[in-house]
C-alpha cells in the first residue's frame, strides 16, 4: 500500500515522537556527561558545547569504588552468562529431542517456577547464604542471576535446536558418534545463534540487576548499579555531572551490545514468550 503525502507526513511525525520518547532521555544523559559541570544545569540546555572529560575526572577522584563495582559487574555478568548458556544448551537439547511424560512435567514446572517473584526467594535464601558464607560474593549473584534465566533460556535453546534436522544426528550416529560427540560437533555449531540469543537476556539482566545485589552484597561484591544508587542518594545533594559520567559508563557498553545483537534479542523474545 502506497502512502499519500499527508499520510507520510503523519507517519514521520509519529516516528519523531517515538524517537524523542525512547531516545532523547538517553541522549541527554550521555551528552551531558561530556559537558563542563557549570553548563550541565543550564536551562534551556545548551546544544553546542566543547566536550570535556571533567566529570569523568571527578568520578575517578571522588568515587574510585565505582570502578571496582564495574569490575564486579563484569565478573558476575560473565559468570552468570556462561553458566546459563552451558546449562541451558545441555537441557534445551534434551527437551528438543526426547519426549517423555517426566520431561514434559518438568518443563511445565519450569514455567510455573518462572512466575515466582525474585524478592520472595530472598527471604529464605538470606540466612542460608549467610550460613554458607556466600554473602557479598560474586558466586551468590552468579547463581541467582543464572537461575532466574535458565527456564526462559532452556526454552529458547529448545526452540532453536528443534530446527536442526534430526537426520544430521542420525548420520553422526551411523559414523559411531556418542551423545556427547553429537552435542559438541553437530548441535553446538548449529545452535550458536540460539546460544547468542539466549545469552543476551541473562547478560543484560545481570549487568543491570538491582534487587539481589542490594540484598546480598555489602562491600566486596557490590555491582555498578548499586554504587550508582548510592550516588543518587548521596547525602550532600546529587552531583549531576559525576552521576552522568558513571551512568554513561554503566549504560553505553550494554546499549551498544543490545543494538549490535538486536536481531537475536527479537528472535529470543518471540521464541521465549510466544512458543512457551
Amino acid at each position: 500500500m502506497r502512502d499519500g503525502p499527508a499520510n507520510r507526513a503523519g507517519k514521520l511525525a509519529a516516528l519523531a515522537l517515538i524517537a524523542i520518547w525512547s531516545g532523547l532521555p538517553i541522549l541527554i544523559v550521555v551528552l551531558s556527561s561530556f559537558k563542563p559541570p557549570r553548563e550541565i544545569l543550564a536551562f534551556p540546555p545548551k546544544l553546542l558545547f566543547s566536550p570535556t572529560f571533567e566529570t569523568y575526572r571527578a568520578l575517578i577522584v571522588r568515587w574510585p569504588e565505582f570502578f571496582d563495582a564495574v569490575r564486579n559487574s563484569l565478573i558476575v555478568t560473565t559468570g552468570a552468562t556462561l553458566l546459563t548458556v552451558v546449562a541451558t544448551t545441555l537441557a534445551g537439547y534434551v527437551y528438543a529431542r526426547v519426549r517423555s511424560r517426566k520431561l514434559a512435567a518438568s518443563a511445565f514446572l519450569m514455567i510455573v517456577i518462572r512466575m515466582v517473584p525474585p524478592i520472595v526467594v530472598t527471604l529464605p535464601l538470606f540466612p542460608v547464604v549467610n550460613w554458607l558464607r556466600l554473602n557479598d560474593t560474586h558466586t551468590v549473584l552468579i547463581l541467582l542471576y543464572a537461575t532466574f534465566f535458565v527456564s526462559l533460556n532452556t526454552w529458547i535453546m529448545k526452540a532453536f535446536i528443534d530446527q536442526i534436522p534430526i537426520e544430521l544426528e542420525e548420520a553422526a550416529i551411523i559414523d559411531g558418534a556418542g551423545v556427547w560427540q553429537i552435542l559438541r560437533h553437530v548441535i553446538v555449531p548449529l545452535a550458536a545463534q540460539g546460544m547468542i540469543a539466549a545469552s543476551t537476556f541473562v547478560l543484560i539482566f545481570s549487568w543491570n540487576e538491582f534487587l539481589f545485589a542490594f540484598i546480598f552484597t555489602t562491600t566486596e561484591a557490590k555491582t555498578a548499579p548499586l554504587i550508582l544508587s548510592e550516588m543518587v542518594g548521596a547525602v550532600d545533594g546529587v552531583e549531576w555531572g559525576v552521576l552522568f559520567a558513571a551512568a554513561t559508563l554503566q549504560l553505553l557498553p550494554i546499549l551498544i551490545f543490545v543494538i549490535a545483537v538486536q536481531k537475536y534479542v527479537i528472535a529470543g523474545m518471540t521464541a521465549g514468550s510466544l512458543k512457551g
Partner: protein
C-alpha cells in the same frame, strides 16, 4: 566417554538446570510458605503461629495501601503500554522509513538499568533545569510534586516503568503482526474497509493470542515492581508510595519480621499464579496432554 548409556547422558544434561531451579527457587518458595506460618527472626527458634502472620498483614493499613498502589500502577502501566505498543506495531507494519534505525531506538530503553532510568527521569524532572519540568512550566501547569505527593510519585513510577518496558510489549506485538498475511489487508481495502475497520476487524483479532501473552507477562513482571519505587521514593513520604515488594522488603530487612514478610511473599506468589492461571492452564494442556 564411549560407553555411557544415552539415558544417563540425558539425565546429566538436564541436571544442572533442574538443580539450580529446585535449590534456588523451588525449595525456597515452599520454605516461604512454612516460614509464613511461624514467627522467626535472626538466631531465634521458629515458633508455629498458624495464620497469625497473615492476620497481622491483612489487619495492617499499610498493606492495603501498598496493595492499592501496586494495583493502580500495574494496571496503568500494563494497559498504557499495550495501547502504545499496539499503535506502534500497527504503524510499523504499514511500512515506515528508517525502519531498522527506528527499531534500534525503540529497543534502547531495554538496555537501561532501573537505576540509570531513575537518574534520567529524576534529572528531567529536576525543578528549573530538567527538560520535562521546564516544559511543564512553559505550558503553565503546576510542577509534578513527586517527592511530596502520593499520586504524583506513583505517576512518575508508572512513566518510568512504561519507558523501560515498552520495547518488550512492542516487539512481541510487532513480530506477531509481521506474521499476518498482507493479502488480508489488501482484500479488506478493496472491500472498502477503512483503516479503523481494518484495525478492529483484522489486526486485533489476529493479534489476540500475542496480546494476551504480552499482557500476562507484563502483569507478572510489573507485579514485582521494586527498584523504581525504592530508588525514587523509598516508599515515602510516610509510606505513602509503598508497593507490595517494598512493603515486603521493609518488613524483612528493616524490621526483621521474617514471618510477616513471608506471609506477604506467599501472597505475592499466589497473586502471580492467579494472574498467570489461564496461561499456565493453556501451557499445561499443550505440554502434558498433546504430545507426551
Amino acid at each position: 566417554m564411549t560407553a555411557m548409556p544415552t539415558r544417563v547422558a540425558h539425565a546429566i544434561m538436564v541436571a544442572p538446570v533442574q538443580i539450580l531451579l529446585i535449590l534456588v527457587i523451588g525449595l525456597p518458595s515452599l520454605w516461604v510458605l512454612w516460614l509464613s506460618l511461624h514467627t522467626t527472626s535472626f538466631c531465634q527458634a521458629p515458633v508455629f503461629v498458624g495464620l497469625a502472620n497473615y492476620a497481622t498483614v491483612l489487619a495492617d493499613p499499610y498493606f492495603w495501601h501498598a496493595l492499592v498502589n501496586t494495583f493502580v500502577v500495574v494496571n496503568v502501566v500494563v494497559y498504557v503500554e499495550l495501547i502504545a505498543a499496539l499503535a506502534m506495531a500497527t504503524l510499523f507494519a504499514s511500512g515506515v522509513p528508517f525502519r531498522r534505525t527506528m527499531i534500534s531506538i525503540i529497543l534502547a530503553p531495554y538496555a537501561v538499568s532501573e537505576v540509570v532510568a531513575v537518574v534520567i527521569w529524576k534529572y528531567m524532572l529536576e525543578p528549573d533545569v530538567g527538560l520535562i519540568s521546564g516544559l511543564i512550566a512553559l505550558v503553565g501547569l503546576p510542577e509534578l510534586a513527586w517527592t511530596t505527593d502520593r499520586w504524583s510519585a506513583l505517576t512518575l513510577v508508572s512513566l518510568l516503568s512504561i519507558w523501560l518496558h515498552l520495547p518488550f510489549s512492542f516487539l512481541i506485538l510487532y513480530s506477531a503482526l509481521l506474521g499476518v498475511p498482507k493479502e488480508l489487508y489488501e482484500s479488506a481495502a478493496i472491500d472498502g474497509a477503512n483503516a479503523w475497520h481494518r484495525f478492529t476487524r483484522i489486526t486485533v483479532p489476529i493479534l489476540m493470542p500475542a496480546i494476551l501473552v504480552a499482557l500476562m507477562f507484563r502483569y507478572v513482571f510489573a507485579f514485582r515492581l521494586f527498584a523504581e519505587v525504592w530508588l525514587l521514593t523509598g516508599g515515602g513520604p510516610a509510606r505513602q508510595t509503598e508497593v507490595l515488594a517494598t512493603y515486603l522488603y521493609r518488613h524483612a530487612f528493616r524490621y526483621q519480621e521474617f514471618g510477616v514478610a513471608s506471609a506477604i511473599g506467599w501472597l505475592m506468589v499466589v497473586g502471580t499464579l492467579l494472574i498467570a492461571a489461564v496461561y499456565l492452564r493453556e501451557m499445561y494442556k499443550r505440554m502434558l496432554t498433546a504430545d507426551a
